[in-house]
Symmetry: C2
Subunit: 237 residues, 2 copies
């Protein structure tokens, strides 16, 4: 059992990120059952398979129930640029809303299981749940805040970026109820570097450096944060 994430019960409507769009904002708990019926569950993709492709028509929002994915675009030379990693319980597909055509490609980093809320189903929800659209709007404007956060990060040193990366993953896993101090990094060094805008060799060197400072323990993809405070000081100092 190498994948710590897989040991937890799969994400359901009640604990997936979509709940933030339903339960707290006017949608009654009883209605969540309705949502359950609405949503297409148990879609599977194997490692390396695409969930959707850049250029394909937008078909709705996706929620990862288990597994991890990468969201990527391509530069003018056709090299992939990893825009984000999507962790279990997180949402995917907003890159298709604006133009109704996906701007990015989503690829499974390991076997993933996901729900699919189609455009039509979103319409249904909009009608039955007043405020649903407003929530979608807030959620997507949230992208703006995230964008600013990423901009700030892009100005910082390679070391600070790696520290921030580990802390962000940790925080996001924690929110969904996973262990925040010990988890598996499903992505390669190459993919981490790509996402952070640094060479994979640099990632390797920094991870090694953090280990020698006894901030983390890392063996292959399994990561353990042993001194979160110190790691955080790398990011915030």
């Amino acid at each position: 059992m190498s994948n710590a994430l897989a040991t937890k019960t799969a994400i359901t409507c009640e604990n997936c990120n979509l709940d933030k769009l339903c339960i707290p904002k006017g949608m009654k708990r009883s209605e969540v059952g309705e949502l359950k019926l609405l949503v297409n569950r148990n879609n599977i993709r194997q490692k390396g398979e695409a969930i959707y492709h850049s250029g394909s028509p937008f078909r709705g929002i996706i929620a990862l129930r288990s597994g991890t994915a990468k969201l990527l675009s391509f530069d003018r030379n056709g090299n992939e640029i990893i825009v984000d990693f999507i962790l279990p319980g997180e949402l995917l597909g907003f890159d298709g809303v604006s133009a109704q055509i996906h701007n990015c490609t989503a690829i499974a980093l390991e076997t993933v299981n996901f729900c699919h809320l189609t455009s039509r189903q979103i319409e249904t929800l909009t009608l039955s749940t007043p405020g649903f659209y407003q929530i979608l709007l807030q959620r997507s404007c949230n992208q703006f805040d995230i964008q600013v956060e990423k901009l700030l990060l892009s100005r910082r040193s390679a070391e600070e970026r790696v520290a921030a990366f580990i802390l962000h993953i940790s925080e996001r896993l924690k929110i969904r109820g996973y262990s925040e101090l010990e988890f598996r990094l499903s992505m390669s060094r190459e993919e981490i570097g790509n996402h952070l805008g640094i060479a994979h060799e640099t990632v390797s060197r920094i991870v090694h450096h953090f280990q020698s400072l006894e901030i983390i323990e890392i063996k292959a993809k399994q990561l353990k944060i042993t001194n979160k405070k110190k790691l955080f000081s790398f990011y915030k100092d």
Copy 2:
């Protein structure tokens, strides 16, 4: 007359960016008059004055009628990081939608005149204009596409970034009906560098380099693109 922008008639509801939110998407031309009555026009800020501050409550969307502004955040040391420049006819304020608190500060780079569509007025429009919310959603998800564009740009050389910066400004001015080949850069080299993530000395050197290649002519803040094709090749090759 040093400011080429000021020579054009001021932006009105009919040619401001907001029109994209109304006319093409279900709002009849006749209703635009209604919008005119709704909107608070002729707000003024002098150079250096804030339009809104980070941390202040969201009060609605703003459309610049004339003048230029910068949208900024602060890093952990309190240094400003310029998230974007806002040109005449463009919209401002989406950084406050998600949390209902502004995430950024907007400051006039020269005297600006702007319209203000308050949250309440947005509500009114939502009720009277079906699909208005959907359009706002698309507009804000558009942020996602822009974010990807910026991510790609952040991976490129300083020279490519400056080329892209000039071309982007040119394109945005063109869309609003201004000259695309000759315009005034209201922001300082320092501010350009800040925005692009490079030192202001580097901006200076690159601008000088482009001049020596006869791609642009620049005198103080006045810019003329003399070889757009070549400039574009710097960006896309």
